[in-house]
Amino acid sequence: MNILVCIKQVPDMESKFKISSDGQWYEQSDLTFKINEYDEYAIEEAVRLKEKLGSAEVVALSIGPERTKEAIRKALAIGADKGVHIHDDESHKKDSFQIATIIASYAKDKNFDIIFLGMQSQDRASAQVGPILSELLGYNCITTIVSFEYQDGKVNVKRELEGGIKAKVSAKLPVVLTCQLGLNTVRYPTLPNIMKAKKKELITINVNELLNEQPRVINLKAYIPEKKKGGIILEGKSDEVADKLISILKEKTQVLR
């Protein structure tokens, strides 16, 4: 079985973001990067499937500048067999459609049976690359999966829907699956596996070989939202504080009367 896992390197969410000089997006320097959390579930699930089947190849793909290789090496240390780095220094400016197009043009003649992705990235959180990719490849697509099982050419999964409802869905291969929190617990790569990962194949492809599409949506501007001014700290004994709060709330809202 051929399995593809798509991962994204995202900035640490606690970083201080600065607007880039063109005003359209954010400044890349001075940020620390790591694998998108949901993509880690995707890697783990792909590796588990491979271990269960005995014979399968897991390819880990990521799009981005040179540093993206770190993320791919981690996926290899978790257990992926082969890395594909699509070199693109401008990947952070591409829309979901372009990213999905890059992946699709890499994957289209490789006969992948299952493609695992995170259900969304932590930075943009659009949750669109998976569905668009499936559309471009003509694969089935199941999003936000929280359990996974493969049997006789079919995947059986549970999807998380709104408000605590789960749906059991099955689909034939080939299929695109997007992974949600709760699917699995990601293993820590062991030292021997980290060493082994350094010897695994990691190829680099230039993005220009794969992308020939203009973005469909364009950033007009990016800005840091205005922070609310720090609030008033209420002090005193808890009774007094509660008293103060009640009078404030009575005055300021229609809720308490």
């Binding site: 969410m13 959180a125 829907l161 605590g164 949506v217 007009l220 939202p225 509660a242």
Partner: protein, 336 residues
């Protein structure tokens, strides 16, 4: 790619998401917002949906201002499945060519929007929280938070139509604006044997379904609540205030509360009149889901906690002591 003739696209369409015979609240919120956009564009706001029996929704979408209601009915479309719903919706949009199509950024909406947009070569912006019309060229300006709300981006789609956007629930207000919508029913043939994906069953996981955005007061707890049993303190205060309780993601991860109670980037977005954050540090992902609340009251032992940056009022203290005190005091004062 052949450039679309974008001048033939007209009207603002809102997707009516429904489940078990009920319309999702976000669709009504989008009708209200859609009406504002239509006014700026000088066109009409219309509703559209597909399903088994959906004509029954005409009355409700009319109450919220839809001038027309485009539908496709077919038993195969009863339950949501990406492919048949996509094809039916693509058929409607292709035929009537709206210039804007809005879809709720729910699990279903996010699943559907990407495939529909790809088929249509439309421009799609996901999870927007503000929508405006550029007065100079009538483009839709879609503003969305990224990086958990640390950075906002305003996005537009110059050359493709419809301009599609998924919009987070709870961001806009649903306002009644009664009309009598014209119903336009299209026939679309589709048979079960053409569909590859099967839904085996839907399972209620025992978690209750909670629509947090329905409440004017929300008492939310974080990891500082210490243990599962202490969440009762949130519920007690919420009951006195006539609200409901919620939690941060860390609490869901710890298994103390179901995901349906989660506020934040991966949970629900809320903007109640009063949001009480007890023992919540204020990670950006959480703040993204609650910062537009009218009044935010934060209780935390750490005076440096980031939650105090967004709080209207802050109480430095242990929420396990402060919450019961507040419950007691509110009980006394509010009864009088």
């Amino acid at each position: 790619m052949i450039k679309q003739d974008i001048t033939q696209y007209k009207n603002v369409w809102v997707f009516i998401e429904h489940n078990e015979g009920k319309i999702e609240r976000v669709s009504l919120e989008l009708l209200s917002k859609g009406a504002e956009l239509a006014k700026d564009l000088g066109c009409e706001v219309c509703a559209f949906t597909v399903g088994d029996k959906v004509e029954q929704f005409a009355k409700e979408v009319g109450e919220y201002g839809a001038k027309k209601f485009y539908i496709i009915e077919n038993p195969v479309l009863k339950e949501y499945r990406t492919e048949p719903w996509r094809d039916a919706i693509v058929y409607l949009i292709d035929k009537y060519k709206p210039e804007v199509a809005l879809i709720g950024a729910t699990t279903l909406g996010r699943d559907l929007a990407g495939t529909v947009a790809t088929k249509l070569s439309a421009g799609l912006t996901a999870d927007t929280t503000a929508l405006d019309i550029d007065p100079s060229n009538k483009n839709l300006l879609m503003t969305r938070p990224t990086f958990g709300g640390n950075l906002m981006a305003t996005i537009f789609c110059p050359d493709n139509r419809p301009q599609m956007s998924t919009v987070r629930p709870g961001v806009f207000k649903a306002v009644k604006n009664p009309t009598k919508p014209e119903i336009i029913k299209e026939k679309y043939d589709i048979t079960e044997d053409k569909i590859v994906k099967k839904i085996i069953e839907k399972v209620q996981t025992g978690e209750e379904k909670v629509n947090l955005s329905f409440y004017e007061v929300i008492v939310a707890g974080g990891k500082g609540m210490g243990k599962k049993e202490n969440l009762k303190l949130l519920e007690d205060l919420a009951n006195v205030l006539g609200g409901t309780w919620a939690v941060s993601r860390k609490v869901v991860q710890a298994g103390w509360a179901p995901q349906s109670r989660q506020v934040g980037q991966t949970g629900q977005t809320v903007h109640p009149k009063i949001y009480i954050a007890a023992g919540i540090s204020g990670a950006v992902q959480h703040v993204a889901g609650m910062k537009s609340s009218d009044i935010i009251i934060a209780i935390n032992t750490d005076p440096e906690a980031p939650i105090f940056e967004v709080a209207t009022y802050g109480i430095v203290g242990d929420c396990l002591q402060v919450l019961p005190k507040m419950t007691e005091m509110f009980k006394q004062k509010l009864v009088k």
